[in-house]
């Protein structure tokens, strides 16, 4: 058995990958019939479209979610000696988690540069994710 160095996928490795990928039910029947890695293969075949991510929808969903926890939740805490502490915990959790999520999505809203990918990754991602 030849010992492969896993870090660098050689051309034969890529072909093996392609064979494995074609065995997977990814996309439609066109993928299975595509000849291996020819330049003309891509031009006539319709690409499945990637869904565009909206910005407004996640904002609305998460704002409502954390808003319910942080603003509406305190009204439903039962009376008892720990009421104050539980309300503080709910509000603090809501604020911290919402802020953290908001920072993450805002940072990716207008990217100034894109990811730099290896060519093998491009091959792989192209056929697996789309």
């Amino acid at each position: 058995v030849r010992v492969r160095k896993p870090a660098r996928l050689t051309a034969s490795g890529a072909r093996l990958l392609w064979r494995m990928l074609s065995a997977l039910p990814s996309g439609g029947p066109e993928n299975l019939q595509r000849p291996p890695l020819g330049p003309s293969s891509r031009l006539g075949i319709p690409r499945p479209a990637m869904t565009a991510h909206s910005f407004a929808l996640p904002v609305i969903i998460f704002t409502t979610f954390w808003g319910l926890i942080g603003i509406a939740g305190p009204w439903f805490v039962p009376k008892g000696p720990n009421r104050g502490v539980i309300i503080t915990m709910l509000v603090a959790t809501a604020v911290c988690c919402y802020l953290f999520w908001l920072i993450a999505i805002l940072a990716q809203l207008n990217p100034l540069f894109g990811p730099q990918l290896k060519n093998e990754t491009i091959w792989y991602v192209r056929f697996l994710w789309e």
Binding site: V1, R4, P6, A11, L37, G38, P39, R42, R47, M50, T51, A52, H53, S54, F55, L57, P58, P81, N82, R83, G84, V85, I87, T88, M89, A92, T93, C96, C97, L99, F100, W101, I103, A104, I105, L106, A107, Q108, L109, N110, P111, L112, F113, G114, P115, Q116, L117, K118, N119, T121, I122, W123, V125, R126, W129, E130
Partner: protein
Amino acid sequence: MGSMFRSEEVALVQLFLPTAAAYTCVSQLGELGLVEFRDLNASVSAFQRRFVVDVRRCEELEKTFTFLQEEVRRAGLVLPRPEGRLPAPPPRDLLRIQEETERLAQELRDVRGNQQSLRVQLHQLQLHAAVLGQGHGPQLATAHTYGASERTPLLQAPGGPHQDLRVNFVAGAVEPHKAPALERLLWRACRGFLIASFSELERPLEHPVTGEPATWMTFLISYWGEQIGQKIRKITDCFHCHVFPFLEQEEARRAALQQLQQQSQEMQEVLGETERFLSQVLGRVQQLLPPAQVQVRKMKAVYLALNQCSVSTTHKCLIAEAWCATRDLPALQEALRDSSAEEGVSAVAHRIPSRDMPPTLIRTNRFTASFQGIVDSYGVGRYQEVNPAPYTIITFPFLFAVMFGDVGHGLLMFLFALAMVLAENRPAVKAAQNEIWQTFFGGRYLLLLMGLFSVYTGFIYNECFSRASSIFPSGWSVAAMANQSGWSDAFLAQHTMLTLDPNVTGVFLGPYPFGIDPIWSLAANHLSFLNSFKMKMSVILGVVHMAFGVVLGVFNHMHFGQRHRLLLETLPELTFLLGLFGYLVFLVIYKWLHVSAASAASAPSILIHFINMFLFSHSPTNRPLYPQQEVVQAMLVVLALAMVPVLLLGTPLHLLCRHRRRRRRPTGRKEDKAGLLGLPDASVNGWGSDEEKAGGLEDEQEAELVPSEVFMHQAIHTIEFCLGCISNTASYLRLWALSLAHAQLSEVLWAMVMRIGLGLGREVGVAAVVLVPIFAAFAVMTVAILLVMEGLSAFLHALRLHWVEFQNKFYSGTGYKLSPFTFAATDD
């Protein structure tokens, strides 16, 4: 609201305890654990206090207890735990306990002594029997036959006739490690005049004192001449050998042996009886000792507490001063009433005003106790200042999680903590003695929350054991880029690295809805993106955390009636902080929202803008983010700088003015106060009930107002705040640094261990077998390096951020805890 937000109200109470009932009252108070006694006899040494005799008696009794305990332990028995409620016994019972204990101790000592001497005797008998029974055959034979044979000329000593040489014997036993030395010395000293034979016993004998088995060496020395005999005896004495009389005749020896064996049998029977009696005595000790120990400990504690009370002039009652929570005052009075009613007298307690700062009391349950413990480790809060603990319950695990974010590691931590929480009531778990386990167990709720938040931040960072997951489809389309840039396979084969350009239509489809896009984990430049993201995140979180700290100070100022500080300290502080670093946060968010990839090449650099803001300079290559940016920035800097003198001089000047105003009309004000309150002042921070806050406090305190001290204090505070703003904001960058370190360690572990394991072998069988040890190594290193080491590291840094950066905005931590007089600590 809950009482965790600030300390409960604690009052100083004065207790009048009639002498007859003093002991029972204090004992009852110890059972309840409500009050902390103040030492009224601090100037008196321990030997001159009233109840020193009783304390000494208790201590002597405790010494006897220790002796008994040691004896029980030596016998290999265990003292059972005392059952039920054991109140401190009345003083007259002490005599009874003392007598019983003394009696038991004496019996034990006697029995032990007997047992010891019996053992020594038995040992001697056994040695004697062994020496006699040992066969030194050849020597004896030679002694008879070679008495006057050819051998004699060889053993001829210079001088001295041969005729009166008669063979004598010395028989004995010597310890095995001394035998060679003995042999050598005998040979050197008496060479030629003796024959010594050594042989080892087959069975080891137990040493009577230590109980260790030792194999003795018996020796038989046959010698000629009286002087040699004396020499030999001296030598054997020197070596501490046991020498026994040796009879030459065989039958005599056998008779002696028989007698010895009989004697040793009898001795063993007696020894058995002694040991049975000893175990009986030990049984009685086991019964008596545990409750007696608890009772005497409580009694001693009560006497020590009584020693702190002062005796009234009429000697009829003891006066005690104690701190007690206001909420517990009724319970205190009831307890005093009940315990003194038995004696027919009445003990009372009433509240007195106090000049000193009361201790802080914050009641916690098992969940909040660990968070309060974190805050208290830094410093116990001043009386009634804002307690950071309820906010720490969430912010501490959150900041930990920001530095630790990984779904897999967080889940492991959460499950570990959950196991501890679910098993917390099991007695085996509670009784564990291991200190490290106790540390982890004590912080189980902390670990639970830390793990939970780490799972959340792990999802946001999109890392699970350093692997990203695509819960939603990625927002970057590689195919679109490839198609529109004409990335043919030949092109790809030539170029190993290619970058996706967000300017190309269809490449960037929108921000990933929850967390970081999974494409970044495949990218070679993912650190460039993540670093920028995490740095900005750290600054935003830091500014928010610190602003929250400054806002908490508002509650302190309002509670202590120092509203001038709202305007003269909180407002300038907030303006300074938010004007400079809040503006930085604004710049960051503005750039995120408004600068898109289309203008990426000429994107403004926030860093350069921020530097220029302070230097009032301008970089032509750096375009502004919004129109009139420079004007706005200049205004903000000027405003912030203007706040510094307000912060520096505002409060001291205000206090000085007020002081002068009060002094200018002293008489009127003082009379008003006397009429209104009738109570003296309180400390500067104005603890206590509302009447005292109203204004009586400043009166006498202002008389001691030292201007230079106030100015100095405020100058230190100003410098600390302003410089601290900058350094503390930078300090929050550790959130970025540690999360980066964690991500990289995690990545390296995966790449170096698991990926190699998963890539080995094409046949399924080989891979499966090889994966088992590889996964074991991965698991061990994950737990040891990533969970334990990184966990401790992130814990430490989150703790530092809380203690220093957050708490120095509002918390002084210079109080002391209410430690009530209670027996609970002595009851183990």
